[in-house]
C-alpha cells in the first residue's frame, strides 16, 4: 500500500477466512446519508460470446469459462490485490462467510441457478478485490460474469464508475454476448439490456417503529422497484434493514437507472425515514429512548443471543448512535458487529460449534460494547 491510502492493508491472506480480519469498505459507516443508507451496490451481468449460458453449459464448458475469465480478471489489474476462490472446492463454512460479507449470492454459494438446478460441485468462483473488498466478480453464477461493486453510504455513482471501468478492463480480453437490439444478453431476460442492477441497503427503524414502512414499501412496488431483506433475493428483512433495487434493465441507459435511484428514489426514502426519526425524537422521545437504551443494555448484559435477536437489538443501537442519543459507540463498530455475529464469521472468531454459538455471540457482543459503564 502506498502511504496516504485511506484504507490500511490488513494483509488479508489467500483463504476466505483470512477476510475476517479485513476491514470491508461497505461497513465503514461513511458516505452520503449514512445515517439511513448503509451501502450502495452496482452489479453488472455479462456473458461470454460463443459459450452456452449456464443452464446449457456442461462441466467442460464451465471449466473453460472459468479458466478464460480467471486469466482475464487476473491480468486486468482491477484492484491492488486479488483473492481468487474456487467455490466448488471451498468448504460450506467458507462459502457462507463470503455470503455474509455480501461477496457472493446465496445461490452462487450453493451452485444453484434461479430455476433450482445445479449443485455445489459445479465449477464456479469469485474474485475478490483487496484490500477493501469493493469489487467482487462472480464467475459461472447465473451469468458467466457478475461484476459487483459495493461502497459505504449512498454512493451509486462512484460504485458504477468502478464497475464500468472493471467491465472495460475485462472486455479488453473477452468478447461479450451482445446484440444491438437487446444489449448485453443474460441468462434471464429480466436482466437483459444494461445487465445493471443498482441497489442500496437501507436502515429504516424510524419507518418501522412509527408503522409507516408499509406505505413506503407499497410506493416502491408501484415504482417497479424490488424491496428485499439483508441478504437479497428471498431473504427475510431482519433488524429493519432493507435492500431496494431497480427491476428494469432494458430500454434505459445506465445513467438514467442510476440517477433514478440516486437522485429521486433514495433521497425520498431518506427524507421519510428522517421525518419518522424526528417524530421519535419529538412526541415519542421517552418511548424511543427506552427502546434504544434497553437494546443497548441487553446487548451489554445478555449471556445468550441468536442472530435475529442480536440484529434487531443492533438495529436499535444503530438508530441511537445516528440520533446521537448513544455517544460511546461508533457507527462502524455497530456495522462490524452486524457482520461478526453472523454464524460463519462467529465460527471463525470464536469457534464454538452450533450448540455454544448463542453463548459465544453474546460474549463477543458484550466485550465489543463494554466500557460504556452501564
Amino acid at each position: 500500500m502506498k502511504p496516504g491510502d485511506d484504507i490500511p492493508d490488513q494483509s488479508a491472506g489467500t483463504r476466505p477466512q483470512d477476510l475476517c480480519a479485513n476491514r470491508t469498505e461497505w461497513l465503514r459507516g461513511a458516505g452520503g446519508s449514512s445515517d439511513v443508507v448503509m451501502s450502495s451496490r452496482v452489479r453488472l451481468a455479462r456473458n461470454l460470446a460463443g459459450f452456452p449460458f449456464m443452464p446449457k453449459a456442461d462441466r467442460t464448458a464451465r471449466e473453460q469459462i472459468l479458466r478464460l475469465c480467471r486469466r482475464q480478471i487476473e491480468s486486468a489489474r482491477i484492484a491492488p490485490r486479488l483473492m481468487w476462490i474456487d467455490l466448488h472446492t471451498a468448504s460450506k463454512a467458507e462459502r457462507n462467510l463470503l455470503v455474509e460479507r455480501q461477496l457472493i449470492s446465496r445461490p452462487h454459494a450453493k451452485g444453484r441457478l434461479s430455476n433450482g438446478s445445479g449443485s455445489s460441485g459445479e465449477p464456479r468462483a469469485v474474485a475478490v478485490g483487496l484490500p477493501d473488498e469493493q469489487i467482487a466478480i462472480s464467475v459461472n453464477e447465473e451469468d458467466h460474469l457478475r461484476i459487483q461493486v459495493i461502497r459505504s453510504g449512498l454512493d451509486l455513482s462512484e460504485a458504477y464508475r468502478i464497475a464500468d471501468r472493471t467491465d472495460d478492463a475485462i472486455e479488453a480480453g473477452i468478447e461479450y454476448a451482445y446484440s444491438p437490439r437487446f444489449g448485453y444478453l443474460t441468462a434471464c431476460p429480466t436482466n437483459v439490456g444494461t445487465g445493471a442492477r443498482f441497489s442500496v441497503m437501507l436502515h429504516l427503524p424510524g419507518l418501522v417503529m412509527t408503522g409507516e414502512f408499509e406505505k413506503v414499501k407499497n410506493a416502491a412496488d408501484d415504482m417497479g422497484l424490488a424491496v428485499r431483506g439483508f441478504y437479497g433475493e428471498g431473504s427475510e428483512a431482519v433488524g429493519d434493514f432493507f435492500q431496494l433495487s431497480n427491476q428494469v434493465t432494458l430500454g434505459r441507459t445506465e445513467q438514467q437507472l442510476l440517477e433514478e435511484m440516486q437522485d429521486e428514489v433514495v433521497p425520498r426514502v431518506v427524507e421519510y425515514e428522517r421525518g419518522a426519526r424526528d417524530i421519535l425524537l419529538g412526541k415519542r422521545r421517552r418511548r424511543a429512548e427506552d427502546e434504544i437504551f434497553r437494546a443497548l443494555g441487553t446487548l451489554r448484559s445478555a449471556r445468550l443471543l441468536s442472530v435475529e435477536e442480536a440484529m434487531n437489538l443492533l438495529s436499535r443501537v444503530r438508530l441511537g448512535v445516528t440520533l446521537r442519543l448513544i455517544d460511546d459507540v461508533e457507527l462502524e463498530a455497530v456495522g462490524r458487529l452486524l457482520l461478526m455475529i453472523q454464524n460463519a464469521h462467529l465460527e471463525q472468531i470464536r469457534p464454538a460449534g452450533p450448540a455454544e454459538r448463542h453463548a459465544a455471540r453474546a460474549d463477543l457482543v458484550r466485550e465489543a460494547l463494554a466500557g460504556g459503564g452501564e
Partner: protein, 184 residues
C-alpha cells in the same frame, strides 16, 4: 367444456387474447396446456410476468411457440417458459417475437437497448461502415444517439407510426447484418 386441442379432456386452463383486432378464446386441458408450455401452474419468474392473452396466444400460435427451438443450443421455447432461463445468446434471436411482449412487460415498455455498447461491438460496426463510408460526418454512436432522441420525441408526441419507423432504422443501423424478414 372440452379442450380445444385434444377435444377429449375437460378444459381447465382458459385464456382470452386479442390479435388482429379479434378476440380469441382458448380453452385447454392441463396436459395440453403443459405440453404447449402455457400451463397456469408453471410458476417461476417468467410466468409471473406473462399477461393473460399476451404470450398465451390462440392455440395454433401457442403450439408453434412451444415447438420453437434454438438451433444453437437446442432449448425449446416451452423449456424456456418452464425455467425462465435462456440457453445461449442465440435463444434471443430464435425466440425474439415471442420474447418481445414479455420484455415489454418486465422492463416497463423497454424493448430496445439504450445503454452501454461494448467497445468491440462499436469498433466492429465502425469497421464495417468504413468500407463505404469516409471518416466524415457523425460517428455511429452519435447517429444512434440522435435517433434515440428522435424516438423519445416521437413517443412523447404520440406519433407512433413515426416512432416505429425510427425504431426500425435504429435497429438496422445498430446491426447492419439485420436485414432478414420478420416471419419465417
Amino acid at each position: 367444456m372440452l379442450c380445444d386441442r385434444c377435444g377429449e379432456r375437460e378444459a381447465t386452463v382458459h385464456d382470452t387474447g386479442v390479435s388482429g383486432g379479434q378476440v380469441h378464446e382458448t380453452h385447454l386441458c392441463e396436459q395440453c396446456a403443459q405440453e404447449l408450455g402455457v400451463s397456469a401452474a408453471n410458476g417461476g419468474v417468467i410466468s409471473g410476468l406473462i399477461t393473460p392473452g399476451v404470450l398465451f396466444a390462440p392455440v395454433q400460435g401457442a403450439a408453434r411457440a412451444a415447438s420453437l427451438r434454438c438451433e444453437h443450443c437446442g432449448l425449446t421455447f416451452a423449456e424456456f417458459r418452464r425455467s425462465g432461463l435462456m440457453g445461449c445468446a442465440g435463444c434471443y434471436e430464435a425466440f425474439e417475437h415471442r420474447l418481445i411482449p414479455l420484455l415489454e412487460r418486465a422492463h416497463e415498455g423497454g424493448i430496445q437497448h439504450r445503454g452501454k455498447v461494448p467497445r468491440r461491438a462499436l469498433s466492429s460496426s465502425r469497421m464495417r461502415r468504413a468500407g463505404h463510408d469516409i471518416d466524415e460526418g457523425p460517428s455511429l454512436a452519435e447517429r444512434i444517439e440522435a435517433l434515440r432522441r428522435a424516438l423519445d420525441e416521437a413517443v412523447r408526441a404520440e406519433a407512433y407510426e413515426k416512432a416505429a419507423r425510427i425504431r426500425d432504422e435504429l435497429y438496422h443501423l445498430s446491426d447492419p447484418e439485420a436485414g432478414r424478414e420478420d416471419e419465417p
